[in-house]
Symmetry: C2
Subunit: 283 residues, 2 copies
């Protein structure tokens, strides 16, 4: 299979590299050409999507926001040859994913939505978790390639399901990280030793990946990003769009809190900066 | 050290038993005499607190609610001989713990607040996490006894700090468990396969002790209690009382949600029953 990789940022670049290392012929496109050129000579850079897409069997996309996905798929759907497999790995709108799937079907193209979790380290180490929606027989064809990028690959069902699964995952994280922040702020207000408190939290039934990986950073007010506030806020807003009439109160509060945090110029910080939202309210 | 153990319920009984097994002389009091008598002949049952307390060096209490703590300590403080060490292991009010500490000091008695996490299994297996507030030199004296009951013993600082730490722990759990419930309800509304979804959640950065231990039960609507709704609600209300002017929005929502769940006669179910709060809103 010949691969076109679109979007070579902190996630896309190492993911494309894994496919090259596995022996696939890979070319890459990025709106900022230097980012694709940086992968040469292993991965050939494309001047445009149109100039490369007819030479490949499969296209992976991992770009920023749903609008970027929309834009890039307008071009992909116009130029791809029939039976090209298209895989969007951006965390994007499930509704948009279903639309693209339908448009792709109409042009004899196949489409999977396959967002990931695990961050830049997961991308670099090939240990991402990948959630896939679409047709199962297409999933089976792409699975060998997914396995070079991720450790846990889960088929979630019909088109859009991969995106839904990702938004569910982020909804769970939202409650989790808000709970940790509220707990630590309460501990701080009572002048508890925060190191001891974190040991208690991570030592029992309050423990979580977030507490283990972001708890110490919250205490130290170390906001260097593992996962950006701006991306998490995007995910939470997508979940809010998709929840319809469900009354998900914690998700709603988390979305508002991350919006305020973003408004206060924390959008380029890591998600653990949510503690700042509470600390600033304390003062 | 001779021990009086007050409160021999699902938690207290196995905890007292560990001290007996370790070689301590233990007698026990319970308001329902049969519950203390059930521990004989290993542990002698007391007809009243007053009739036993003068024979012991240390008193442990683990009863139901702050009012029970207040009542039992009125009697303890009246009858204990000077330098008796008193240890409340109930999850109770930090403010009350501080009051009891002061009253105890005035009578030349020592007091620690030392609530636990880890549930009935932790009590049975001697693997509880114990958070201790009070005077450090008294903590040092009691530590060998704590070590027969728990695996992680943490000194949190001045009187009341053990209780505060427990409430912080429960605040973290509140966000965590609400997030899991909201995520699963969103997944269900989108008709995702919930088993696959739980695998995704527990396989990455959304994972937690709660997801691992309560996620499956939520999906199966299996509400058999590991930790009772009524006890969790008590803890959340205590945290709300103690938060003062902190704006802990998720804690507040969780407290209201568990109150409603309790009002709907789920108070004797396990905390995972919170999924029912959301499912009933869906219908």
């Amino acid at each position: 299979m010949r691969v076109l990789w679109i979007g070579t940022g902190v996630m896309g670049a190492p993911m494309a590299k894994h496919l090259f290392d596995a022996g696939y012929e890979v070319c890459a496109f990025n709106r900022t050409p230097e980012k694709a050129e940086a992968l040469e000579p292993d991965i050939r850079s494309c001047k445009s999507i149109a100039s490369c897409i007819k030479d490949v069997d499969i296209v992976f996309t991992i770009v920023g926001f749903p609008n970027d996905v929309k834009e890039v798929y307008d071009e992909i759907l116009e130029h791809a040859k029939p039976r090209t497999i298209l895989v969007d790995m951006t965390t994007s709108s499930p509704t948009l994913a279903k639309e693209i799937y339908k448009k792709a079907q109409a042009k004899n193209l196949d489409f999977l939505d396959a967002p990931v979790t695990g961050g830049d380290l997961g991308a670099i180490n090939g240990t991402l978790s990948i959630m896939v929606g679409g047709d199962f027989h297409i999933y089976e064809k792409v699975l060998p390639l997914f396995q070079f990028m991720g450790k846990t690959i889960t088929f979630m069902g019909k088109p859009g399901s991969g995106m839904y699964a990702k938004l569910v995952n982020q909804t769970v994280i939202a409650g989790n990280i808000m709970g940790i922040a509220e707990g630590l702020v309460l501990a701080k207000s009572k002048k508890l030793d925060l190191d001891s408190m974190l040991n208690v939290i991570t030592g029992g039934s309050a423990s979580s990946w977030q507490a283990q990986n972001n708890g110490r950073k919250m205490i130290d007010q170390d906001y260097r990003p593992g996962f950006f506030v701006k991306h998490f806020l995007k995910d939470l807003k997508l979940a809010m769009e998709e929840k319809e009439d469900l009354d998900l109160e914690v998700l709603e509060i988390a979305t508002k809190a991350y919006q305020k945090l973003s408004d206060k110029k924390f959008s380029e910080e890591g998600t653990q900066a949510i503690i700042e939202y509470y600390l600033q309210k304390m003062m």
